[in-house]
Subunit: 500 residues, 2 copies
């Protein structure tokens, strides 16, 4: 890449940011996978010091100079990089320093209060904290500025270009479609037998199978590794060191196997950046939603597909306990795809998951624009659960208190989870025009799929905004109908009824 | 600890150094144990950036101010910390910056030339590099300044307070004693049967036993962990995260088991620092020699002792292959303690090891004061090998080219390996007056030994200079006779002759 002197200085400055980020990411990985208990306190202080240094670099006057001088660079990589760097700069500079510091301090306190409130199932403990967090977030939106709905000010940090208008044009329809499908599934006479698959399954065997699947997917073990953790994640420590972690439940192999495939999907995205982006701010995922589209694509469309298990079941049996041998492949396939509305989002199946998200989206919007009151949330939550999923939690622990996000100050992040699902189904629909996915799976050629995703999505890093990427790949904007169609077909087959 | 404002600022400044050091140490550990191949290049750049920042902090004007203003602090911890910080400062400031940079650059080149020269067994390739490195080291000694022998200028960086006078008063005698003992051992009729113990031994079993022994030693797994690596090491990432690594040879369990005990000994030192030193520069090992005294103490005096195997052999058999069951404990004990002069230092047994070191010490001294010429080294090396060990390498690869130290620019480090052995035997002699070591081992109370080492050595960190620590613990200065006595007794028993 030919660069001017100024552009080169900008990249040199950005390299420092990368160094701090790399060290911080390695520490974060280590804290969650390997670090011995007693060493954690001091390590956290080191992590916090490095974050502070990183933050200084991202928000320095020097960085502002680069932004001003290079925003019109003729080099498209530099121009786009400057946009990304400016986002970070604005994010912090538009909020008064003291206020932001107080917010960070407050949310850390708030997280521990939430923890206790959840344990005690006592929403009233958490309520005053959430009220203050909502106030902060309303003020922040004003500092940042926005067009249209106040929620847009938050949404853009996770899903640039996405707006409430767009979401409101899609989410309510998706909600109705999903609720309708779920009602039909509930009414079906078939009930998957989960006790057949939730049997003792040694961790080592699960790990060996998980490694086998990652390898099939084309995950590059020379540029990553698989480790154990409590809360699974994928993390790009650098573009050629993208690690996957998973959690093993010896009574339910699905946690580790589908968890690994999910995180593996995230990892393929970051392993797939074009090497010419290395060292540039654009060498990053373009949005949380696009990131999630990759993990859900692999977890659900591939990992939970009939073709995958038709092809891999006999291999799976060589790792699985003896008792699985009595289970026909199709019976197994139906069990791992059970639809069952649940209170807890992170335990939801692929039919019900997006409903959990839309519920939170509605609440977040309402809190920010003043339509809803924090004190009324438990009731609102339960009503919506009943409305969307047909079940009603009997405790706030299983309801409004279940997620950490709000306690941590996050508003605007939840939609990415559902967007990822919708994007993913749109990508799948497009891919199907070029490649027979079922056939590729049955011929053990998952790498063909990976290569398509590499070419159309991964390699671009953040060079394209998420909605532009979607348009370029699929030819259209956000469209939930592919997801609905996919679920209708898949679950008609599984439940032996004709969903409509 | 009550501190003045200035003292507190000094510790705050030092905390930054600790943060960079902690991040760098974690990266170093990861690079050698977990990092995927392709990610290493960028990670090394990050490591180098962090080292640069660390170096800036250690050699800043601000640090110089602290040194000047706090050198006479009334607080002994601060006073001593300032001494340590000043050592780093002087080390770098006394050498012209450009010259030091050139040296670092040159030694990195020199290491790769050495690598190739070793592979090709071609000393003439390496000779001009070593000549230049010797010249650098002579000039550095002048910059640093020294009393007596020029070698003292280098020695002090690894073993503060140690001098050529002291070493020359001890090493030649030790050399004669060891050579004499080895001659007698060679002449004995007993030959240990090594093929009985060098049998296939699965890595997982070796690891399980190594973990068992670390636990017996009192290694705190909540403040550390055991991992696999090519070249074993122990590393204190922070005072409560001190990790051990080992290498598994499935054809020779001794590598992993004694390697783990050795590195575990290093780790106990760093896990044993008094918590009131945390956050201070004195929270570090006082010298390389004292560090090595701890690893050799555990590896040899405990791990290779008769009492240890009398007590642990039956446990060991539960991990070991079936074939070990035909081996009587005493036969096993004699095999793991075979004395056999070898060309390669890192493969040497405990009787011959120190001779390898003294050979190098003599050469280093001679090169620095001009008594020896780099071009003559291969011959000098071989003559000394014959003289000390009675064997002569047929290639330079097995001779003068075997170690990386000189290629990396290090002079003055080797003596620490032998000093550690001598110190260790002196500590053992003192400990024996208070605790019956054999009995403690036989009663599975290794922790008693650890606690004694904690109390007398570990907890002090760098508060005492190595020779002061030695004096405080043993009541005397460097004295090789305890080591000779220990070896005489042990090997008389093993070889069934009366060594003298």
């Amino acid at each position: 890449m030919k660069l001017t002197k100024k552009e080169q200085s900008f990249l040199d400055e950005f390299k420092k940011i990368s160094h701090y980020r790399e060290a911080s990411n390695l520490i974060a990985w280590d804290l969650r996978t390997k670090a011995p208990r007693k060493g954690i306190k001091q390590r956290s202080e080191t992590l916090s010091y490095l974050s502070e240094r990183l933050h200084q670099l991202q928000t320095s006057d020097r960085m502002k100079e680069f932004i001003d001088e290079l925003r019109l660079s003729e080099n498209p990589y530099i121009r786009r990089s400057i946009e990304l760097v400016q986002r970070e700069y604005d994010f912090h500079h538009k909020i008064p320093v003291e206020e932001f510091k107080a917010f960070v301090q407050f949310t850390s306190e708030s997280e521990s209060v939430w923890q206790e409130a959840k344990e005690k199932d006592d929403y009233s403990m958490f309520q005053p904290y959430l009220e203050k967090i909502v106030d902060y977030n309303i003020r922040f939106a004003d500092y940042w500025g926005y067009e249209g709905h106040i929620y847009n000010a938050h949404l853009k940090h996770y899903e640039p270009g996405m707006t409430v208008d767009t979401l409101d044009g899609v989410f309510p329809k998706l909600q109705k479609d999903l609720s309708r499908l779920i009602e039909q599934v509930k009414a079906s006479s078939f009930k998957p037998q989960i006790d057949q698959i939730t049997v003792q399954f040694p961790k080592e065997k699960q790990e060996a199978f998980a490694l086998h699947v990652l390898d099939q997917m084309g995950y590059d073990f020379e540029a990553g590794r698989l480790d154990e953790t409590v809360h699974p994640f994928a993390i790009g420590i650098n573009p050629q060191d993208v690690r996957v972690t998973t959690n093993y439940d010896e009574k339910d192999f699905r946690t580790a196997v589908f968890g690994t495939i999910h995180e593996g999907g995230h990892a393929l995205y970051e392993q797939g950046f074009d090497p010419k982006l290395y060292g540039l701010p654009v060498c990053s995922a373009t949005s949380m939603g696009i990131h999630e589209s990759q993990s859900l694509f692999w977890e659900n469309f591939i990992g939970r597909s009939k073709a995958f298990w038709n092809t891999n079941y006999s291999t799976f049996l060589t790792y699985a306990p003896e008792s699985f041998k009595n289970l026909a492949p199709n019976e197994f396939y139906r069990s791992i795809n059970e639809v069952k509305p649940s209170f807890i989002r992170i335990e939801a199946d692929e039919m019900t998951y997006a409903l959990h998200i839309m519920l939170r989206y509605e609440i977040e919007k309402g809190l920010l624009n003043g339509d809803l009151n924090v004190k009324d949330l438990p009731g609102i939550w339960n009503d919506k659960m009943k409305d969307y999923l047909g079940i009603e939690p009997s405790t706030d622990r299983e309801g409004v208190l279940q997620d950490i996000h709000w306690a941590g100050g996050d508003f605007g992040y939840f939609p990415s989870y559902a967007l990822g699902y919708i994007y993913g189904a749109q990508f799948k629909h497009t891919l199907e025009k070029e490649i027979n996915i079922e056939q590729a799976i049955e011929q053990n050629e998952l790498k063909k799929i990976k290569e398509w995703l590499n070419k159309h999505i991964h390699q671009h890093g953040s060079m394209k905004e998420p909605l532009d990427l979607l348009k370029d790949v699929t030819g259209e904007g956000l469209n939930h109908q592919y997801l609905v169609k996919y679920l209708t077909n898949k679950y008609s087959d599984i439940y032996g009824i004709s969903l409509s």
